[in-house]
Symmetry: C3
Subunit: 220 residues, 3 copies
Amino acid sequence: MLEGVPDPFATALSVNSIQTGLRVLDIVGTVAFAMSGALLGVRKRFDLFGVLVLGCVTAVGGGAIRDTLTGNTPPLFLRDETYLWLAILGSLLAFAIGTRLARFERAIRVFDTLGLALFAATGAIGALRLGLGPLGVTFAGTLSGVGGGIIRDLLAHEVPEVLYRRDQLYATAAAAGALTVYLLNGHMSSLGQELCGAAVVVLARIVSRRGWVKLPVRRV
Amino acid sequence: MLEGVPDPFATALSVNSIQTGLRVLDIVGTVAFAMSGALLGVRKRFDLFGVLVLGCVTAVGGGAIRDTLTGNTPPLFLRDETYLWLAILGSLLAFAIGTRLARFERAIRVFDTLGLALFAATGAIGALRLGLGPLGVTFAGTLSGVGGGIIRDLLAHEVPEVLYRRDQLYATAAAAGALTVYLLNGHMSSLGQELCGAAVVVLARIVSRRGWVKLPVRRV
Amino acid sequence: MLEGVPDPFATALSVNSIQTGLRVLDIVGTVAFAMSGALLGVRKRFDLFGVLVLGCVTAVGGGAIRDTLTGNTPPLFLRDETYLWLAILGSLLAFAIGTRLARFERAIRVFDTLGLALFAATGAIGALRLGLGPLGVTFAGTLSGVGGGIIRDLLAHEVPEVLYRRDQLYATAAAAGALTVYLLNGHMSSLGQELCGAAVVVLARIVSRRGWVKLPVRRV
C-alpha cells in the first residue's frame, strides 16, 4: 500500500534512506510497546505465554487498528514477520529481567513515550496517503498511537490508562503529533514529517509531566 | 459504496432528496450518540480530551464496525470529515452544559433512542446492498446500532449496558428494526425502508419502557 | 476466497469430500462455542436476547477477527447464513436446558476444546493461503481460536479467561495447533493439515489438564 505512491519530497534524500529511517523508528516503537505490555503481564502474574500474548498484542495492536481502518489488509505485522519477532524478543526480555524492571521504570516510560510518538506519526502518514482530511489523519494517528495500550488494558482487565491519566497529556499528545504530520504535508519528506510529528508528541509528554499544562475536568 | 447502486424504488422521489434525507438522519444520530458518550465521560470525571475521545468513539464506533465488517474501508467517518466535526461539536456541547444535563436527561434518552434507531437502520441498508440474507442484515444492523455504545462502555470500564438493561428492550429493538428493513426490501425506496426500520426501533423502545414487554430470564 | 486456490495435495481425496469435511468441522466448532457463550449469559442472568447475542458473538467472533485481519470481507459468517442459524440454535439449546447444564459441564468443556481446536486450525489454514510466514500463521490461528472467547468475556465484564487460566494451556494449545498446520504445509491436503493441527490442540489440552505441563510465572 505504502509502496508505489510517489513521494515528491523525497528528492533531497534518497528514497531508500527515508524508507530505512521510517523502518528503524517503527522497530524501536514495536520493541518499546512490547516491553510495556509484557511488564504489565508480569505484574499481573500471567504465565509465560500470557506475557508473550500481552506483549505482542500491545506491540502490534495499534498498527493492526491502523491497517484495518485504512483497508490495508492483511495488516503489515502479518505480512512482515519482523514485527512479531521483535515483539516476542521485547516480551521475553521483560519476562527475563522481571523483578529488576522497577529500577528501569524510567527507561520503560521513555520507551512507552517513544512508541506512542512513533506509532502516532506513522499512523498519520498512512492516513495522509489515503487522502484523508485533518480530522481523519488526527483520528487515525491517535488511534494507532494509543490503540495497542487500550487493547492491553482491556485484556488485562484494567481501566484503560489513556482516558484516566488525568495529570498528564497522553492521547492529546498523540493527537498533537498526528496533526503536526498533517500540517507539514507538502513541506518536507515523509521521514521529516514523521520525525517532526514524533518530536511534538515527546515534547507534549515532557511539558505535561512537569505539570505545566493541564486539561480541564468538568465538575458534575 | 452506497453510491452507484441503482435504486429502482427511488423513482417516486428524486434520488437527491432520498440521499439528503438519509444523510440528515445519519447526522442527527451521530450528534445524539456523541452527546451520550461525552456525558458518560463527564460523569466519570475524564478531562476535556477524554470526554472528546469517548464522545467521538461512541458516535463513530457503530459505523466503523459496520464499514469494517462490510469491507467498506476506509470507514465513511474517515472519508467524510463531517461526522467527526459533528461528534466533536456534540461532545463539546455535553461538556459545556455539564451539570445541567440532569435536567435534560429525558432529552438525552430521546437522542440515544434516535441514534440507536438510525444506526440500526443504516447498518441494515448497508448490509442489504452487499446482498446479505435476513440474519446477516439483522446482525449487521444490530451491531451498527449498539456497537458505539459497547465500545463506550468498555473504554469507560463499565458493564456494557446493552446486555444488562434487563427491564427494557435495547439490542432487541435494534434487531427488530434491522429485520424490518430487510422485510421491506423491494417494497419501497431506501429512505422509506430506513424510516420504517427506525420507527420500529423507537416503537419497541417506547413499548418496553412502559413495561408491556419483557424478555424471559433463565433461572439457574 | 478459499475457493479458486489450487490445492495440489487434494488429488488423493476428491476436492469435494475435503471441502465437506472442513465444513462439518467448522459447524461443530460453531455450535460448541455458541453453547459456551450462551451458558455464560445464562449464569450471568442475561435475558433471552442477551444470551442469544453472547452465544452468537462467541461463535462467530473468532472467525470475524480472522476474516477481518486477512481482508476476507464481508466475513464468512455474514455471507453464509448457516453459521448464524447454528449459533442461534446452540444458544437456544443452552438457554432451554439451563439448570441442567451443570450435569453436562464435562460435555461443554469437551465442546469448548473442540471449538478452540477447529477454529485455530481453520484460522491457520486461511493465513497459509495468504502466504503468511510461520509467526503470522501462528498468530492468526491463535486469534481465531481464542478471539470469540475473549470478546465473550469482555462483553460479560469478566476477566478474559484465556490469559488467566494459569493451571492449563489454552492459548498455548491453540498456538501449537496453528504452528502444526504451518509445518505440515506441503506434506498433505488441507483437510489433513486441519485435522492434525486440531489434534495437537486437543492433545495439549488433555496433557495440561492432567497437570503434566505448566508454564512458568515470573515472580515479582
